[in-house]
């Protein structure tokens, strides 16, 4: 894949140096991001395993809870259950904190089913059944799992976003930025050596002309202007290289 030369660069040594520094920086950035992405993906799969486990336990927990609820309904009647449900105090809460995985903030959730034991006992034991207690207990347990699932899912989603973002940047560096810098560096190097060859041949030509002129004039000295002395100094040195 060949990529374009960055537009508007001048073929100078300064530019070449600056570009080389940029290329090294881009390369370093690319390597770092790559490492970050690998680590993120590792974490992602770890959490994914958790997620599958928790999802299963939520499904099983809920199934049990619904079963217990049905049993309670059979004993007490659906109306009674609904009545109790409506009178239940709003005590369940979730505590939200965040933690950081590789700099990605993920939620940390905890299910709080009410602090006081008394609050949990909001219905009369006289006209209800143990089946109801069971159903409520099961639903609380299921809620615990559901909140856990929410935490894991939140972490998964945020990690997934971070991974695709990082991948985008890695690819941009790898497939666009770095090749472009490399082609531009090559281009400038070509240009510079081309310029060098041009001036070299030009100097040789000038030298030859000057020598011819000098012979024609016999022993007559040519006046050494600064330019000419520079040329005569430069050319032999070049030939040695």
């Amino acid at each position: 894949m060949s990529s374009e030369v960055i537009e508007g660069v001048q073929a100078t040594r300064m530019e070449l140096l600056a570009l080389k520094i940029r290329r090294n920086l881009a390369q370093k950035g690319h390597d770092l991001l790559r490492e970050k992405m690998d680590a993120l993906i590792m974490h992602f799969f770890e959490i994914l395993e958790d997620f599958d486990k928790v999802r299963k336990s939520v499904q099983e927990g809920l199934q049990e809870a619904f079963l217990a609820l049905t049993e309670a309904k059979m004993v007490l009647g659906p109306m009674k259950i609904r009545e109790i449900a409506l009178s239940a105090p709003h005590i369940a809460e979730v505590s939200v904190q965040t933690k950081s995985i590789m700099g990605v903030r993920v939620p940390l959730l905890r299910f709080l089913s009410g602090e006081k034991e008394e609050e949990k006992l909001f219905y009369s034991f006289v006209d209800t059944s143990v089946k109801l207690d069971e159903a409520i207990e099961r639903f609380r347990k299921a809620m615990d799992q559901i909140v856990k699932l929410a935490e894991v899912q939140g972490a998964l989603i945020r990690l997934a976003r971070e991974i695709s973002e990082t991948r985008r940047r890695v690819n941009a560096l790898n497939y666009i930025m770095i090749p472009r810098l490399v082609t531009t560096i090559n281009y400038i190097q070509l240009q510079l050596s081309e310029q060098e060859r041009q001036s070299f041949t030009r100097l040789k030509k000038i030298k030859a002309k000057l020598e011819k002129k000098g012979k024609k004039l016999g022993e007559e000295e040519i006046e050494l202007t600064p330019e000419i002395s520079m040329v005569t100094e430069l050319v032999p040195k070049k030939e040695k290289e």
Partner: protein, 104 residues
């Protein structure tokens, strides 16, 4: 923070028994939408539980919320009939996009 839930009757009764305050019974799309609207207006709600069957009906809205807001976290649970069969599981879709491989 508070927990909200949207579901059909049995789910809501169960979750109410577990102490969840903001529980909405819904079955039609319009009811679900109205309930979501109410939930979004309360900034103290940190978690929204919705049954898979209802979530499937308002998939677009949920995606949009997840895209725009970090709170509330939306979690889908199976209702009493158990988990539903979906053409695209949102989570495996997410994995496919993130990691570039399809699992399972």
């Amino acid at each position: 923070m508070k927990i909200a839930s949207i579901g059909e009757e049995d789910t809501i009764v169960g979750l109410r028994l577990a102490g969840i305050g903001d529980a909405y019974i819904a079955s039609e799309v319009s009811e679900v939408k109205a309930a979501i609207e109410k939930v979004l207006q309360d900034p103290d709600i940190g978690l929204l539980i919705i049954t898979e069957r209802l979530a499937e009906k308002v998939r677009n809205i949920l995606n949009e919320i997840m895209e725009r807001r970090t709170i509330p976290t939306i979690i889908e649970i199976p209702d009493r009939q158990g988990p539903i069969e979906r053409e695209v599981d949102p989570i495996s879709e997410l994995i496919k996009r993130a990691v570039g491989v399809k699992l399972k």
